[in-house]
Subunit: 388 residues, 4 copies
Amino acid sequence: MTTFASIASQLEGQAIELPSWAFGNSGTRFKVFATPGTPRTIQEKLADAAQVHGVTGLAPKVALHIPWDKVEDYSALRDFAGDLGVALGTINSNTFQDDVYKFGSLTHTDAAVRQRAIDHHFECIDIMHATGSQDLKIWLADGTNYPGQGDMRGRQDRLADSLGQIYARLGSEQRLVLEYKFFEPAFYHTDVPDWGTSYAQVAALGDKAMVCLDTGHHAPGTNIEFIVMQLLRLGKLGSFDFNSRFYADDDLIVGAADPFQLFRIMVEVVRGGGYGPNSPVAFMLDQCHNVEDKIPGQIRSVLNVQEMTARALLVDREALDAAQTAGDVLGANGILMDAFYTDVRGDLAAWREGRGLPADPMAAYAASGYQAQIAAERVGGTQSSWGA
Amino acid sequence: MTTFASIASQLEGQAIELPSWAFGNSGTRFKVFATPGTPRTIQEKLADAAQVHGVTGLAPKVALHIPWDKVEDYSALRDFAGDLGVALGTINSNTFQDDVYKFGSLTHTDAAVRQRAIDHHFECIDIMHATGSQDLKIWLADGTNYPGQGDMRGRQDRLADSLGQIYARLGSEQRLVLEYKFFEPAFYHTDVPDWGTSYAQVAALGDKAMVCLDTGHHAPGTNIEFIVMQLLRLGKLGSFDFNSRFYADDDLIVGAADPFQLFRIMVEVVRGGGYGPNSPVAFMLDQCHNVEDKIPGQIRSVLNVQEMTARALLVDREALDAAQTAGDVLGANGILMDAFYTDVRGDLAAWREGRGLPADPMAAYAASGYQAQIAAERVGGTQSSWGA
Amino acid sequence: MTTFASIASQLEGQAIELPSWAFGNSGTRFKVFATPGTPRTIQEKLADAAQVHGVTGLAPKVALHIPWDKVEDYSALRDFAGDLGVALGTINSNTFQDDVYKFGSLTHTDAAVRQRAIDHHFECIDIMHATGSQDLKIWLADGTNYPGQGDMRGRQDRLADSLGQIYARLGSEQRLVLEYKFFEPAFYHTDVPDWGTSYAQVAALGDKAMVCLDTGHHAPGTNIEFIVMQLLRLGKLGSFDFNSRFYADDDLIVGAADPFQLFRIMVEVVRGGGYGPNSPVAFMLDQCHNVEDKIPGQIRSVLNVQEMTARALLVDREALDAAQTAGDVLGANGILMDAFYTDVRGDLAAWREGRGLPADPMAAYAASGYQAQIAAERVGGTQSSWGA
Amino acid sequence: MTTFASIASQLEGQAIELPSWAFGNSGTRFKVFATPGTPRTIQEKLADAAQVHGVTGLAPKVALHIPWDKVEDYSALRDFAGDLGVALGTINSNTFQDDVYKFGSLTHTDAAVRQRAIDHHFECIDIMHATGSQDLKIWLADGTNYPGQGDMRGRQDRLADSLGQIYARLGSEQRLVLEYKFFEPAFYHTDVPDWGTSYAQVAALGDKAMVCLDTGHHAPGTNIEFIVMQLLRLGKLGSFDFNSRFYADDDLIVGAADPFQLFRIMVEVVRGGGYGPNSPVAFMLDQCHNVEDKIPGQIRSVLNVQEMTARALLVDREALDAAQTAGDVLGANGILMDAFYTDVRGDLAAWREGRGLPADPMAAYAASGYQAQIAAERVGGTQSSWGA
C-alpha cells in the first residue's frame, strides 16, 4: 500500500486555473439569482480569485473571457493580478453572444460574419501577448436546432479553414485548445460535438493545437477517463475544464456529482503522464455557482481536485499491474478502491499547515470576514454575470 | 386499409392550445436572440396567436402565464381575445422567477415563502374565474443542485400539503394539472421528476387533479407512449405540453425531432380514449422558438399534430388486433407503419379548403404580409420574452 | 460529527439476502464463461452462500429461483440450509424461459398461456409455504420489440387481472413484490417499465403487495434515491435488488460503478425508516459475476452495502437539517460528504473481530481453501448457470 | 420539388449486404427462442439469403462470420452461392467466444493469447482470398467490467500493434474495417468505444483501413449522421452495419425504431458522396430477429433502406442550399421534411415491377411457400444461432 508520505512531494506545484466567470452570477434560462458582493469588474473577480489561492495555494492563475473581461490596459491588469498573488491565464474567446452569430461564427456561410469571428480570435491572440497567456481556448456554440437548418459538412469545412487562419496567427509559445461539447446551446447538432471531431481538427492544424476536455460535455454513459487515456496517448490532451453534472452540462462543483469518476479521471491522468511539472495539460475549472456561494464554491472545487489527485497518486501501481496481468478482477479493482476509499483529508490538512496554509481552507475563508466585506462594499454598479 | 375519407370527420373540432410565451423571444442561458415584431404585450401575443388559428383552424385557445400576462381587467382581455376569434385557455402559474424562490416554492422550508407560493396559486384561480379558464397548470421548478442541499422527503410532504390547499380552492368546474419534469432548472433532484410522482400527488388530491405530460420532460430512452397509455388507463391524463427534443428539454417544434414518436403517442391517445369531443385531455404546445420565426413555428407545430393525428386515425385497428393476437410481429408492425408512411398532406390540404381554410397555411401566412406589418409597427417598448 | 461508536449498534442485525443464481455461471448474449467449482445443484449453491455468511455475518438468507432451484422436498432443503447456518428467502418466479412465453406471460392474449403463468405463481406460493419464505418476487420479462407488436393497454389490463389472481392466493404473512425494469429483454416496451407502473399495480392489489426496486433498472440520469424516498413515503417499498451498472442492466457488484450513488440510496433508506428491525424493506443482491470469482464477488458486495450503511448512519442529521433550513448549500452538502469520505473500513474490521468474525473477510475466504476444494470436487455434471 | 422519376436511375445498383447470422436463431442473455426452418448450415443460410435477394433485387451479397460459417472448401461455397444468385461478402472475425479470450484478444496482456487472436485474423484473410471478399471486418468484444480490471492504455497500445500486424497481411485489394461499440459485452470500458478511437487506430494503419459504423453502437442522444458526415469528410467511412435500437444494442430492423434517423443518415451519405457506384462505403445489415420471422425480417430491412434512400435522393438540394444560406430555418427544415414525408412506396413498387421484381416483396415471399418448405425440410440437426 502506497503511503501519503511517499506521494506528498508530488502534490507540490499542483495548479488549477480559476475561471473569472465563476465569481459572477450565473443561472439557467429560467432565472439568474443575484448575490450580495458579486464582482462588477474583472479587478474584483481577480480579488475574489486571490482569496481562493490564498487559503488553498492551489489556484495561482485566473482564466479570462473576452469580451467579458476586456480592459484598456492588460499590462496594468497583469500587474494588478500579480500584486494579488495570481497570474492571468487562458484566454477564452466568445462568439456566441452577438446577434450576428445567431446561425454560426467560425462556421457561418456568410464570409463577413466568419471573418468577424476570426478577427475576434486575432484580438484574443493580441491580448494573450499582453497578458502573457499561453492558451487560446475556443469553445464554439455553433450548431443547429433543426435537421436541414444547416449543411453540417460545409460548416465543418469552413471551421477547418477558420481554425487554420487563427492557428497561423499564434505565437511560437502559444497554443490553441479546441473544446468539444455534446449539445447546448444548439440542440440538433453542434459543430464540435465530440473528442473525435476536436482531435481531427487539431491534428490537421499542427503541434500547437490541442483538445480541451470539459468533463460535463459528454453523452450519458460515456467513459470519460477512456478519452483522457486516448488523448494523452495521442499527445493531444491540452487542457481540462473541470466541473460535474448529473444530466446535462450542469457546471456543478467538480467531484460533486460523481466523486469516483473524478478519481478515475485523475488515475488516468497520472497513468498517462498528464500530471506533474513536465505535463502539457492545463487544469482549469469551468463551473457556474447558481445557488451556492461562489468563492467557497471555488475553494471546495480546487480542494476536491487536490484530494482526488492524492488518492490517484496513492494507487499501488505495481500491485495493480500484477493483479491486472494475473486476470485477478476483484484484486485489481480492490487495489483501485483502496486508494479511493482512503480518507486523505487529515493528511492534506497537515500538509497544508506545513506550508503555512490553513488546515481547513473553507473555515479559514468563512472566518476571514471577506464575504461580509464585499457584500458591504460592492453596492451599485452592474454585477457581472456568466454570459454577460 | 382505413381511408382518409373514413376518418376525416374525426378531425373536426381538433383543438391545440397555444402558449402565449411562444410568441415572445426565448433562448438558452447563453443568449436570447431578439426578433423584429416580437410582441410587447399580451394583446399583441393574442393577435399573433389569432394568426395561427386563422390559417389552420386548429388553435382556438391561448394559454396564459401569470405574472407574465397579468392585466388589470381580465374580462376585457377575454373580450379582446374573443374579437380576434380565440379564447383564453389554461392558466400557468410561475414560482421560479422571484428571488425568494431560490430554494423552493411550494416545497420551501420557510412557511412564509411557501404561503406566498400558495397565495400566487390562489390568485391564479381568481384569474381563472375571470378568464373562464378550466385548468390551472402547475409546473414546479423546485429542486436542488447538490446532494444534501435539501431534504427530499420533507419537501415532498410539504408539496402535498401545499397542493392540498390549492386544490381546495378550485371551483367545481376547474382542474389542477401537475406537470412533471426530469431535470432543469434543478440539476440534482426535482420535486416532481416523473409521472409516478405526479400521479401519486394528484391521486391523493381528488378527481379534479390530473397529470400534465410534457413530451420533453423524460429521461433518454423513455417510452412516452407507454406513459400516455398508463395515465389514460388510470384516468389521470389531464393535458399534454407538446414539443420535441433531441437531448434535454429543447422545446423544439413538436414532431421535429422524432416524428415517429409523435405518431406513436397519438396512436395511444386514440387507443385510450384521449381524443375526441368527450376526452378530458387538453392538448397544448409548450415550445420556444429560439432561432426560427415564431408565428410560422406555431403554425408548423399545430399542423404537425394534425397530420400525426390523421395518421394515427388511419391505423387499421381491426387488422392490427388480429395480427397482435396471432403473434404476427412483422404484420402488426407493418400495419402501424402503413399508417405512418401514408402521406396525408394532400388530403389535409383538400380538407382545409373544404372548410374555407388555406390549403397551405404556411404559404398563406407568408403571403399575408402580417410579419412585415408587425416588424414595422412594434418598435419601441420591451419585447416580451420567455422567462420575462 | 457523528462517531462510529455511536452508530455501531445499528449495524447489528443487518441482513442482505443472496441470490442463488449469483453462484452459477452467467454472461452476456455473446458468451458465458465457465469457472471451475461452479455449483451444479441448489445444495451446492447454498453451501457457497454459507461461505459468504460465514466470513461476513451479513447474509443469513438465500433467495431461490423457480424452476432453477426446484427440488422434491423443500422441507429437507430448508433443513439442509439451516445446517449450513442460512435460511431460505425470497422465491423468484420465472416466466421468461419457456417457449410458450415468447410473446408474454401474465399479459399474454392467449388465456391458456396466461393461466399457465398464473399457475406457475401458485406453485411458487406453495413452495413459499414449504420454505417459510415471506416474499414472492415477480420480475416480468413481458414486453414487445416493435411498435404495434402488442396492445400495451390490453396487456396492462391483463397484467392487473393476473396479479389479482396471484395476490388472492397469498397467505396472510406472505407478500407479493413487483419489480420494474426499464428495458431488456424486450426492447420497445416492457410491461412494468418504471416505479410508477409497479406502484399503480400494487396499490390496486392491497397492503401485501409492494414494489421491488432493482438499482440497475432505470433510465440514464434517473435519481434513484428520490424513488427510494417516494416509495418509503408511500409505504410501498418492499425490497431492493442491489447491483450496479454503467450503462444497461450490467448486474455488477453493488457499489462498484458509483459508490456515491449507493451511499445516497442508503442515506434515503435510513432517512425514510427503511433500515432497522422494524423496516418492511428486504435487502437483496441481484448480480451476475461474469468475469470475477463468484463467492468473493458476493463477499465484496455485502461488505460494500455494510460500509455504505455505516457511512449513511454517520450523517449528522441534526447539523444537516440546520444547514438545509438555513439555505447553506455548501454546508449541507459538506455534511453529507463528510460521512461519505469517512474511511469506515478499519472500524468495521474491529467491529467484526469483536463478533468473532474475520477482520478481513476477503482474505479469510481466500485463505480458507474452499475455492480449491470445490474446484477439485465439483467435476462432472452440469454447472448451474444464470438463466438455466 | 424533386420527382421520383428524376431520381429513379440512382436506385439502380443499390446493394445491401446480408449477414449470414441473421438467419439463425438469436436472443438475449435470458432466452433464445427457436423457430422451425432455421438453417443448420451456411449453405442453408445462403439459400435463405437468396430468397431476400430474389424478391427485392437489393441483396446480392452475404457476409460470413468465422468460425460460425467455416467450411472445408470456400471455392465450392463461392460456387454454391453463385448458383443461388448471390456472392460471398465481408468476412467477420470472432474473438469473443473462446474461453481464452475472457480478458481480451487483440489487447490481451498474454502474448500467446494475443498471437492466437492475430492468427485468427490471418486465417480470415486467407479465407477472403478464397471467397473473393474485399473486407475484413473487426468488431472487438475486448473490454473490462470493473475499474482497475485492466490497464486501458496498455490495451490500446497492444491493439495498435495487433492491428498493424493484421493490416500488413492484407492483399492489395483488401481492406480492414474496424467497428466501434459504446458498450457490451464489456460494461465498464470497451477498447474501441467510439468513432474517434476507431478513426485514430485506422488512420495510423493506412489507406486500406477504414471505420465501420454500426448504427446501434452509440450513446443515447448521439447525432449519428454527424459522424457519417465527418467520416466521409475524413475519407474513412468504410462500411455500415445497419440496424436500429431504442436503448441498447437492440439489433432491431433498420429504420424500425426511428425512421427519421435513418433518413437523416441517408441524406448525409448522399451529401458526402457515400452513395453510388464510386463510393467506397459498403452497406450491410447487422440485425438479430429475436421474435420476428427472419427472412421476412431481412426483406423488410432492405426495403426500409431502399425507401429511405429514395427519400434522401428526393431532397431538393438546390432549394435546401438556398434556404440554409438565407438563414431560413423553417424553410430549410421544411424542404427536408417534404422529402421524408413523401410516400415513395407506390413508386418503388412500380419501379420493381419494371425490373421483373414483385411489387410487394413481403407478400411475394409469403406466397412463395418457402417458409413452409424449410420448416418441413429442416428437421433434425443443430439450428444455427447467433453466437454459435
